[in-house]
Every structure is written in structure tokens, then in C-alpha cells.
């Protein structure tokens, strides 16, 4: 009986402010979509980190006869120098940190280069001699790459020692700043959504002030008076957050799984439906919670006795 009355009051309020309710739906929809996108980006970053940090190697580049940087003096690294580096890698001081390593000759480097840059005119001008021979080292713990760099940097015939994670960090920082932008936009939109919900509820309360006055006069409990308004806000926000959830699922399905995965192929891992299924409930709960809190705060002014 009372439940039905509360629901009919809420439905009446929704009907009376259709335009405001639609704007609440749209604003929560957009803001929560940003929140969801930011969450997906963060998940993507941590997924890529997990994937790439395991595969990232430390490269020890040996001199070629055109190099002048590092410890090079326009002379090809000699076999002794290469052996000395290899001996150092095998030595007790470095071996515990190294999972495995392999040596890449000019020919192997050239083959890889041809494969990677087959589309580029650069490939035509490059000869095997120009490419460095190198040791490709997989660390037991990729965070300890510094040890290898410090240790081998000053060896004769070593041009450079590079932690390949340095390249990845750039990618991650781009993705990170994209996700922070999304979070910033989401926060702004959420503020707008909260204020809009509060305004809508206040408007709704104002249009029902006669009923509210009589309810208070005859002794309706505060909970009874405020529940329809809170339901009104939560209902509008729920529609918005369900739409946001649907758009997150659509983004994952059509853009990530449908487009990115086929375009990028197997070069990296991507977030998928498993992550979307975590994001959607978070969005729905967040939307409902924000609406309940802001509607409750907006209506409390009408409950003072």
C-alpha cells in the first residue's frame, strides 16, 4: 500500500519534469561513459605492463665500424671484446640476475630489420654491417636492469646498454595521460550531473510543495516524504548509467575486439569483455549512489521541522 503510493509519487514527479529527467539521464550517461573509458584505459595499461615487462630485454649493443659514440672508436668490436662481455654475463656477479641471453649477429639483425621495415625505403639503403651486433638479455627481475647497465656500460667495444622498457614507458605515459584526461573530464561531468540531479529534485519538490506541506502537517515521516524524490533521482541516474554501461560494452565489442584486435593482430594484449563486465556494475552502482546522495541532500531542506 505505502510502497505503491511512494512509487506512484515518484512516477508522478518523473512525468512532471520530463525535460529535466532527460537531461539528468544524458549527463550521467556521458560522465559515466568517461569514467568507464578511464577505467578501461587503466586496465589496458596494467595488462600491457604485465605482458611487455616480461618480454622486455636489455640490449647490449656492440660497436660497428661506423660508430663513434659509447666506447667505440669507428672500429668493429673485436671477437675478444665480444667474448669479454659474454664472460662478464656468465660471471657470478651478473649470472644470478640473468634468466637467459642470446647473441644477435649482423645477419640476424639485418633479417629482423628487413622484416620490420619492409615497407620503408630505408630498408634498401641499409646493409648488414651498419647494424649492431648485440646481446639480448632477459632479466630475472626486469626492474634490476640498472645492474646490467652499470656493469657493462664501460666495457671496451660496447656501444650502449639499453633497457627496452624505456621505449614502453613512453607508450605508457601517453596512455596514462589519456586516462587522466578521461578521469578529469569524468570528474567535471560528474559534478555537473550531481548538481543537475539536485536541481531537478528541488524543482520537483517545489512543484509538489502543497503536498509536502500537507504531508508534514499531518505527520508523514521524513523517510516517507523523501523516498519518492530519492527514487526519482536514482531512477533517472540508473537509466543514464545503464546507457553508459551499454556504451562501454559497445566500445569493447566494436572498437577493441572488432577493430583494434584485427588491426594490431597478436602484437599486444587488449582488454576484452572480462574487463567490461567488471566496469559496468561499478558504473551502475556509482550512478545510483551519486543520485541518491545528491537527491537526499537536495530534499533535506524540505524536511526541516
Amino acid at each position: 500500500m505505502r510502497l505503491r503510493l511512494v512509487l506512484s509519487e515518484a512516477a508522478q514527479g518523473l512525468r512532471r519534469n520530463v525535460s529535466m529527467v532527460i537531461s539528468v539521464i544524458l549527463v550521467t550517461f556521458i560522465s559515466l561513459t568517461f569514467v568507464g573509458t578511464a577505467m578501461l584505459l587503466q586496465m589496458q595499461i596494467s595488462e600491457m605492463k604485465g605482458y611487455w615487462y616480461d618480454r622486455a630485454q636489455v640490449a647490449v649493443y656492440m660497436c660497428t665500424d661506423v660508430d663513434t659514440g659509447g666506447n667505440c672508436d669507428s672500429a668493429e668490436a673485436s671477437a675478444e671484446q665480444i667474448d669479454a662481455v659474454e664472460a662478464q654475463l656468465e660471471s657470478p656477479s651478473l649470472a644470478p640476475y640473468i634468466q637467459r641471453y642470446e647473441f644477435e649477429t649482423h645477419e640476424q639483425a639485418f633479417a629482423n630489420f628487413q622484416e620490420q621495415f619492409s615497407d620503408s625505403p630505408l630498408a634498401a639503403f641499409t646493409t648488414a654491417d651498419m647494424l649492431n651486433e648485440s646481446f639480448r638479455v632477459n632479466m630475472v627481475d626486469p626492474d634490476q636492469a640498472e645492474i646490467l647497465i652499470d656493469n657493462l656500460q664501460n666495457f671496451a667495444g660496447v656501444q650502449d646498454v639499453q633497457d627496452q622498457r624505456g621505449y614502453l614507458d613512453q607508450i605508457f605515459s601517453v596512455l596514462n595521460s589519456a586516462s587522466y584526461t578521461a578521469i578529469g573530464l569524468a570528474a567535471l561531468m560528474l559534478v555537473a550531473a550531481v548538481l543537475l540531479i539536485a536541481t531537478t529534485i528541488r524543482l520537483s519538490a517545489f512543484s509538489r510543495r502543497r503536498e509536502l506541506g500537507i504531508m508534514r502537517l499531518v505527520g508523514a515521516s521524513n523517510r516517507f516524504i523523501q523516498t519518492p524524490f530519492i527514487l526519482e533521482g536514482v531512477f533517472a541516474a540508473l537509466i543514464g548509467s545503464v546507457l553508459a554501461g551499454a556504451s562501454i560494452v559497445a566500445i569493447v565489442h566494436f572498437f577493441i575486439t572488432g577493430y583494434l584486435r584485427t588491426t594490431l593482430g597478436a602484437t599486444t594484449t587488449l582488454v576484452g569483455m572480462d574487463e567490461a563486465i567488471i566496469v559496468v556494475p561499478v558504473l551502475v552502482v556509482l550512478g545510483a549512489l551519486l543520485a541518491a546522495v545528491s537527491a537526499g541532500a537536495a530534499i533535506s531542506r524540505y524536511l526541516k521541522v
Partner: protein, 251 residues
Amino acid sequence: MIRFDAVTKSYAGNSRPALNSVSLEILKGEFVFLVGASGSGKSSFLRLVLKEEKPSKGQIHVLGHQLNTLPSRKVPYFRRNLGVVFQDFRLLPQKTVFDNVAFTLQVIGKSRGFIQEAVPDTLKMVGLSGKSGRFPHELSGGEQQRVAIARAIVNKPAIMLADEPTGNLDPATSAGIMGLLERINLGGTTVIMATHDVGIVDQMQRRVIELISGQVVRDEREGGYQTQSIPLPILPPFGNTGQFRLPGATS
């Protein structure tokens, strides 16, 4: 039933208190007229009984509750024991007569069965049994006030507060309303009525409490409207200018 102990009520921005150290007691089953010029504190008195306002000083006891210490979450339950009627009826225009009266019971959570039984009974008592399907704008002023009274008494309150219930009605209609209030009073409900209507007060011969400038200047059993102040429009004593206030001020 209702006791005021040295109650003073001041509103912010007004140095003269609306009620000034008022002490009085109203017993169960009494019918009390509250008379006085506009701004004399009648409405403030009623609002204090309803706990719509807090007194600035003094203690108010209503129905065994000490209102100063009544927590606000209990105020709604306290108000279920009071029925209120206003000069402007305050009906809900989009609800029928039946629904206006039933609304009171719905919002305090009475069952459908109880409502189906209590509302027609109450409408019959106020003389509107054939008009339960009408809307307020289809009724005369007197009939609208009867709806408002039905709404106030449908929950069988111990106290009924009426703020100039006949203020918008012609004398004949007013007499009908007064007859209704008298019957409600005979049923055991304490009735407190603020009014300007000289004829009604003189005719009823009930307890009269007269306020001037927020002070009780007269409290007599079976009194008339006759006041101690000099008749209008000359200013009453105490330098009171309250009666020339615009409506909506502290009346």
C-alpha cells in the same frame, strides 16, 4: 493537555517578540477562542503548539510531550495527534474530496481497508457524503472547509487547531462550520480556534483568550469578543502598531 510556561517567541530581525512570556493551560475537551488583532501572536501560538516553531524562551508541553526536547524525527509522529484547519483550506486541487481526506491516512501508513471505512464515515460526519468524487474547485467555500475539517479529524486527533477557519466564509456558512466544530468538540477533541469573528465568539460563549502584542490580556470562561483595547481603528495600548502590518508579517 497544552501548557505554556512563560513562553516567549521572537523572530529574527524583529525586536518586539511575537509572544511575550505567555503562560496558560488548556485542558482536555475545552473549546478555546484565541482572539486579538493581526500580529497579536495568535498564529505564532498555534505554530508553537504544532512545533513548527521553537520558542525563544520558556517551556511548552503538549499531550505529555515536552516540545523543546522532542527530537525532530519524532515530530511527525507527534503531529499525528493534531488536526489543523486553515483559513485558505489548503486542499490538493488535483485530488477528489475522498482522495484529499484519504491522503492524510495514506501518508501515515494506514491500511487500505481502514481508509475505505474511515473516510466515508468522516465525510458523512461533516455533511459531504454525496460529494466524495468531486474536486475542490467544484465545491463552495463552506464545502471546501468541511473537506479540510474532515481531513483534520479523520485520524481522530486529540487536539484540533483552527486558524481563522471562517475567515473566508459568509456568516451563514460560518455558522454551519461552527456547528461542526462544536460537534467535534463534543466528541472529546480539544478545539483551539484563532478568530476575528465577533459574532461567533459572542454567540458560542466559550473560553476566550485575548492576545495583544504577544501578551495574554484576558482569559475568561464563557467570554465574548469584547476587548479591553480601544476599538479599531484607533491604536490599542502598549504602543502596538501590529494591526497595520502587511499580511504575511508575524500574524
